[in-house]
Every structure is written in structure tokens, then in C-alpha cells.
Amino acid sequence: MFIGEKVGKEWTMDQAPQYAIDHVANSKKNIFEFEFLNSLSEKISSFFGLTSDSIFYIDLGITKHVFLLFFVSTIVVSTLVTLIQAYISHKKNIPNKFMSIVEMFVIYLRDDVLKNFIGAKEYRDWASLIYTIFFFVLFGNILGLIPIFDLTGLIGKLGYQADMLNKDNVLYLLSKGGHTVTANVNVTFAIATITFFAFIGAGIQKYGFTQHWKNLAPSGLPWPLYFVVVPIEFMGLFIRPLALTLRLAGNMMGGHIALVIFITFIFSATAELGGFAGFGIAPFSISLALGLTMLELLVAVIQAYVFALLTAVFIGMAIHVDH
């Protein structure tokens, strides 16, 4: 939902929270309709005995966040593959500006995270996962900060007034809903699921299936303690990915909601106190939003790093049981 859409319409202060939530949540409608996806969704859901009114109905329709996932992954893959292939085939050992940023992250993650937590020998098996998590989340976070889809809404509103009344217009649909994929719990939960299977897989790869599960609790404890330790450790297995899910999604949601709330100060002041109050409060709320955007840029990098770091830590914990 693009900012400014409500200007000139009826606005009351109590609309602000819902407006901010709509600005972060996924779109309610599909942006592109594909018949085969609808029938596939129905088939898969009926296989699990789910009907379309269930909240667990597996709807594979291209909502805004699914579209954004394709968008982000295309940008991640094309940028990184182009940069790295150009760098490697050059043989000159001198990275260009963007490549040196990528290389800085890659070398930092390798030396300070991968080698440190996973180990100098084993790190190559898990490096791709950690790097992909880092860059995927980073690009998702940063693209969420660039209001490209607010612009499509604006273009639609200014240029295609007639079309915008048609609710099936792609530009109109794109302007609806949040555009930060990493603020969607389902997306972050999917990445956390991969982390979950990665750290279990790492343990099984190193110790074999049975020994890995025995490693869950330290050996040599008095036997009654195992009744406490084993359930706690077992719960810990599931809490880790859940914590990852909520940490990333919560951080991205929070920043964007605060950003939108700061902007709505202008609408609320205009609606409640008149146009002059709106003009008066604009510099204040815009500078707050600007400062918060700067902070969000920092948070975007930090959260991507934290997700990658914790994945590495969990894999390392499964491999090095003795710590």
C-alpha cells in the first residue's frame, strides 16, 4: 500500500495502526493469476485433507511476497554470479568496487564465522549455505527499504487513473501490501527450516544417526537428570529455528511499521487539526523517518549477519559436541 494513497480521502487517527500493518503484511489477492497453480494448490491441499477455508490451505498463488521472492532471488543470483564469474575469469586478482564489498563479506564470514564456529576442516561443506542465507536475507532486507512498489502505485495513480479503479491492474496490485519479504514470518520460517535441517544433517553426517541423537544430552550425568535435560534439549532444537524466524521477521516488521507510523503523523495532524498542522509536522515526521531508514539500513545488514552467524553456530554445535 503506497504512502499518500489516503491523502484527500477520509482519514482518522485510529486508522493508522491498520494502515501500518497493511503496509507490511502480504497482499490479500494474487498479483498474477495462473490456473495451473490454483489447481496444483487444490491437489496438494486435498492430499493433506485441507479445504480452501482452512488457514493451513496451501495456496501457491503468486501473492506480492511470492512475486518479491522471485524478484529478490533473481537479483541475488544475477548480481553475485555476474560479479564473481567476472572476477574469477579476470585472473587479475583486483576486485572492482562491488566485488570488493562482496569479497569483504565473504572473507569476513569465512574467517570469523565459518572457520571459527564450524571448523577449518569442515567449513567448506556449509559455506554455501551460510553465504546464501546472508546474501539472500541481506538483499531481501535492503530491497524492502527501497520503495519501488510505492512508486508503481504512484505511477498508477498519476498516469493510469482509469486503470487504477480497475482492481485487477498489476500496478495497483503491486502497490498493495508490504514489500519486505523478510518481514513475512512464512519466508523467514522457511529459511529457518533449512537451518534446522542443516544443523541436524551436520550432526548426523559427523557422528551417524544414533550417535547424533545421543549427543543431544551430555553423557555421564546421573540418570534422573536425563528426564530433565533431554526434553529441554529437544525443545531447544525447535526453539532455535523459531527464534530465528521471529527475530528476523520481527526486526523487519518493527522498522517498517514505525516508519509508516511516523509518516501517518502528517495525515493525522491534517485530519484532526487542519492543513497547516500537517505542513507543520511534516519536517518533524520526515526527519524521523529519514533517521529510522538509516537505522534500518544498519539493521538490514546486522540481521542478515545474525541469521548467518546463528546458523553457523548451530551447525558448529552439532559438529563439536564437546563444547
Binding site: 493451513f56 496451501i58 532471488s73 559455506a127 546464501t132 539472500f136 512464512n186 522457511a190
Partner: protein
């Protein structure tokens, strides 16, 4: 239900599929080649550093050696120069002495020769003078010996010449 926490299993499935695809593609075309490349480069750098280190020690050794050689050469050169200087001085002194002796010899020779020539010349002059006087006297005597004064003068002149001759 809060739209921010609604389970959207479709989005979840899409996320898994897309993330795994990205992981697979990047693993093959980005991360593995890049890590290989970085490792190779680091190995290269380490090797180059090692080589530079050994080259440095080699260079230092060579420098030391060359300094030693240079010092020796300097010393030898100094010795050679000193030796030849002495010899040159000696020979110069000798040549000078010889020359001096020879010139002295010449000088003495010349002096004695001059002395001999001188006495001979004086003697010849005297003989000539005597001859001339005699001739003159004869001529005067042949004309006339009238005056006593004249004869007296001739006499005394002759005596003077004689005395002169006797002196020498």
C-alpha cells in the same frame, strides 16, 4: 487473525523452493568457484611472501659478500698504490741524483775547459801584443831615433811588456 502472523503455507513452500534453487545455483556458480579462487590466491600470496623473504636473505648475504670483496679490493689497491708510490719516489730521487751528478760533472768539465781556453787566449793575445809592439817599435826605430825621449819611452814600454809577460 493478525495478518502479520497468518500462516501462508503457499508462501512457505515457495520460499523453500526458491531458497533451495538460489542455494543450488549460487553454490555451483558463485561460492565454490569463489572459495577455490580465494584459497588459491591466498596460497599464491603466502608463497610469494616466502619467496620474497628468501630473496631478501639471499640479497643480504650477497650484499655482505660483495662488501667484503670490496673491502679487500680497497685494501689491496691501497697497498699497491702505496708500494708503487714509494718505488716511484725512489726512482725519482735516483734519477734526480744522477742528473745532478752528471750536471755537476758537465759543469766542472766546462769550467776547466773554459779556464784552459781562457789562459790560452790570454797567452795568444799577449803574443800578439808583443808582436804588434815589436813591429810598431821596429817601424818607429826605422824612421828615426833622434830624440832621447822617444828612445826612453820605447825602452820603458818594452820593459813594461816584458814585465807583464813575466807576470803571466
Amino acid at each position: 487473525m493478525n495478518p502479520l502472523l497468518t500462516p501462508e503455507l503457499g508462501t512457505y513452500v515457495w520460499s523453500l523452493v526458491i531458497f533451495m534453487t538460489v542455494l543450488f545455483v549460487l553454490r555451483k556458480y558463485a561460492w565454490n568457484p569463489l572459495l577455490d579462487f580465494l584459497e588459491e590466491r591466498e596460497k599464491d600470496i603466502a608463497e610469494s611472501l616466502k619467496m620474497a623473504e628468501s630473496a631478501k636473505t639471499d640479497l643480504e648475504q650477497i650484499k655482505d659478500e660483495s662488501e667484503k670483496i670490496l673491502n679487500e679490493a680497497k685494501k689491496e689497491g691501497k697497498a699497491i698504490v702505496g708500494d708503487s708510490k714509494q718505488r716511484a719516489e725512489e726512482s725519482a730521487a735516483k734519477i734526480l741524483n744522477d742528473a745532478k751528478a752528471k750536471s755537476n760533472e758537465f759543469l766542472d768539465d766546462a769550467k776547466s775547459k773554459i779556464e784552459i781556453e781562457k789562459t790560452r787566449a790570454i797567452k795568444e793575445i799577449k803574443e800578439e801584443v808583443v808582436d804588434l809592439s815589436l813591429e810598431l817599435a821596429t817601424k818607429v826605430l826605422q824612421r828615426n831615433v833622434k830624440d832621447d825621449d822617444n828612445s826612453k819611452f820605447i825602452k820603458s814600454s818594452l820593459e813594461a811588456v816584458k814585465a807583464d809577460e813575466a807576470k803571466s
